[in-house]
């Protein structure tokens, strides 16, 4: 079986005026179906760039990236939008919920862009909110929910399209320790049920929950054990 996510020799170069910045310098990464991977690295390591490319928010300068057997490295913006919609569920550090919409409407949003009819949309959004334990909060707006609850709404939003990959970018960065446990517990449950998860973080407490860890530094991936061993 081919991996869910397969990157080889991915490079990303940004040009800021005259200076060329090589954010990624040849990354090979493979994630199987049902895997739970933590990508760790300090700021400036190329962690965010890697997250953007995994999430199809940006395309590599060179190299290939197969997501669920689809080559996404040469896609146009519109095609990328469709891939993001169907294959990736995002969980952001800042939650990124729309404050004027109820939890239900926020969770429905990806389905709106997928063109799912209203009745099905509501049914699936309610199921996703139920899955994260917020069945009794569906009409609340983000401002009326705690940080942990807001992040659970965004996990529900990420799950509602049944994506190939759940991609979380510092998902616990804005949460207290109790809510962090809640979210990480939820991720573990989801992975248990077969969901593929990639978490980008700089916290070992978060990375420890994953099945596998890779470390990124200066735009290159290092083998997990060596890096962890080196730091510990």
């Amino acid at each position: 079986m081919s991996p869910m996510l397969d990157m080889s020799a991915v490079r990303k170069t940004y040009s800021t005026g005259v200076v060329q910045v090589e954010a990624l310098r040849g990354v090979d990464l493979s994630v199987d179906q049902g895997d739970y991977l933590a990508i760790m690295g300090p700021s400036g390591s190329g962690k965010s760039t890697l997250m953007h490319i995994i999430g199809c928010l940006d395309v590599p300068t060179s190299g290939t990236y197969l997501l669920d057997d689809t080559d996404v490295s040469k896609m146009t913006e519109s095609q990328l939008a469709e891939v993001r919609n169907r294959k990736i569920g995002f969980v952001f550090q800042q939650f990124n919920l729309l404050s004027s919409l109820s939890a239900l409407r926020n969770v429905e949003l990806p389905l709106v862009y997928a063109g799912v009819p209203a009745a099905t949309r509501k049914e699936r959004a309610l199921a996703a909110l139920d899955r994260v334990g917020l069945a009794d909060r569906v009409q609340h707006r983000p401002g009326e929910l705690s940080g942990g609850q807001q992040q659970r709404v965004s996990v529900a939003r990420a799950l509602v399209t049944d994506p190939a990959l759940l991609l979380a970018d510092e998902p616990t960065g804005n949460l207290d320790s109790h809510s962090t446990e809640e979210i990480l517990g939820l991720f573990a449950e989801l992975n248990e049920a077969g969901r593929t998860i990639v978490v980008i973080t700089h916290e070992f407490e978060v990375a420890e929950h994953a099945k596998r860890r890779v470390f990124i530094r200066d735009g290159l991936l290092a083998t997990t054990d060596a890096v962890l061993g080196g730091v510990h």
């Binding site: 928010l57 990124n96 949003l109």
Partner: protein
């Protein structure tokens, strides 16, 4: 993405910034209302003038005195001097001179202060001939018009307009009563039917007397034979241009002048309508143009506020893109928002325009004509302005890179 969702999202976004949306709509509202009112006023004025001209009579020709440009200095005396005389009228009535003329009515006018037994009134006194009735296509409501015999005898008889009758004789019939016109005593022998035309000059407030009586007793002009203008009716519509030529040619010959030196002008109803239409048309265009500029300013307001909205909602746009909104969907989203601002402003503007027309019409006495096509056009224009104003902000939103948009704090 379904239209229903797009519109729902747009309405929610506009509703979230309610005050700003209302103020933006106000720009469009004022523009649309101003255009509708000025154009409606212009069309109303045009319709009013046209109906007034048409109510003068059918197949009508009007000969008026005019100063020729080449000999104006020599003639002098200003507009008070009429170059037309009763002799001109008599000549035009001759079928061998102007075979396509059916009837001729020379008229002389003066302002008259009227007095009945009970009250006084000021009106226009017109001296004319019995043919006036057929030339002007009017009818006598009660009593009768004066006869050729009375004209020849310079009798002191008068036919009055319906409104004049009401003013002077609020109770009882005027026929047979005596009125005083500028100190001269006249017997009222008839009352005209209502002309039914509305507008600036009142055709129902007038006193008609035989031209000879007018010349002898009421005229302020030095020349007893001069008349203010000559009304003629052609035999029918087909020969009206022939009649026009006959009148012009024979008058030029009898006045001994060339066409360039003509001391009179001949107008037809069509030429009067044409002149009036072109004048009101220019005025409408001018006022409508000024109102149109305010509409343009309203459109710029929409563009401005949409640009502000895009830069305020960079994060939201980024998130929507991350969740699968294509650039096209984002563009459509902002276009619809701008379009809604435009069309709501337009609808409110139409409402204000219709209300304004209803209020203005009785005040100024001219129907402010707001037509269905004009209203539909206003809606299309306001939607169009919203969309055009939305194009640039929407394409800016569509072009935002999702990562830049998500990163912005």
């Amino acid at each position: 993405m379904e239209w229903k969702e797009t519109i729902r999202t747009a309405v929610a976004a506009l509703n979230a910034r309610r005050m700003r949306s209302l103020l933006t709509m106000l720009g469009i509202l004022i523009g649309i209302a101003a255009v509708m009112l000025t154009v409606g006023l212009g069309q109303g004025a045009q319709a009013s003038i046209t109906s007034q001209i048409n109510s003068l009579g059918s197949n009508l020709l009007i000969v008026s005195p005019s100063q020729s440009t080449s000999s104006g200095g020599f003639r002098g005396g200003g507009s008070a001097v009429s170059t037309l005389t009763t002799a001109d009228a008599a000549m035009l009535a001759d079928p061998t001179v102007a075979p396509d003329i059916a009837a001729v009515a020379p008229v002389s006018t003066a302002s008259g202060s009227l007095q009945s037994s009970s009250t006084t009134w000021t009106s226009t006194v017109v001296g004319t001939t019995p043919d006036w009735l057929s030339v002007r296509a009017r009818e006598v409501g009660s009593g009768r018009f004066f006869t050729t015999g009375e004209l020849d005898a310079s009798s002191n008889v008068a036919v009055i307009g319906s409104e004049t009758a009401t003013e002077l004789f609020s109770d009882g019939s005027p026929v047979g009563q005596t009125i005083s016109v500028n100190g001269q005593s006249f017997t009222v022998i008839g009352v005209l039917s209502e002309a039914g035309s509305s507008g600036m000059s009142n055709e129902d407030d007038t006193v008609l007397v035989p031209l000879t009586t007018f010349a002898a007793r009421l005229s302020t002009s030095g020349n007893a034979n001069s008349v203010s203008s000559i009304y003629l009716s052609g035999r029918d519509a087909d020969t009206l241009s022939a009649a026009y030529q006959q009148v012009k040619t024979s008058l030029l010959a009898s006045h001994g002048v060339t066409a360039d030196e003509a001391d009179f002008s001949v107008s037809t109803q069509a030429s009067l309508v044409e002149t009036a239409t072109s004048i009101t048309g220019i005025l409408t265009l001018l006022l409508g143009g000024i109102a149109g500029i305010s509409l343009l300013v309203g459109g710029i307001g929409v563009m401005n506020i949409m640009l502000v909205s895009v830069s305020e909602r960079v994060r939201e746009i980024g998130l929507r893109k991350a969740l699968g909104a294509t650039p096209g969907v984002i563009r459509q989203q902002f276009l619809v928002e701008a379009g809604i601002l435009g069309i709501l402003g337009g609808l409110l503007g139409i409402g204000i325009g219709v209300l304004g027309a209803a209020i203005l019409t009785p005040i100024i006495g001219i129907t402010v004509a707001i037509s269905i096509p004009a209203t539909l056009l206003a809606m299309v224009v306001s939607l169009g302005i919203g969309l055009v104003a939305g194009v640039y902000p929407a394409s800016r939103a569509a072009k935002l890179a999702p990562i830049d948009a998500l990163r912005s704090e």
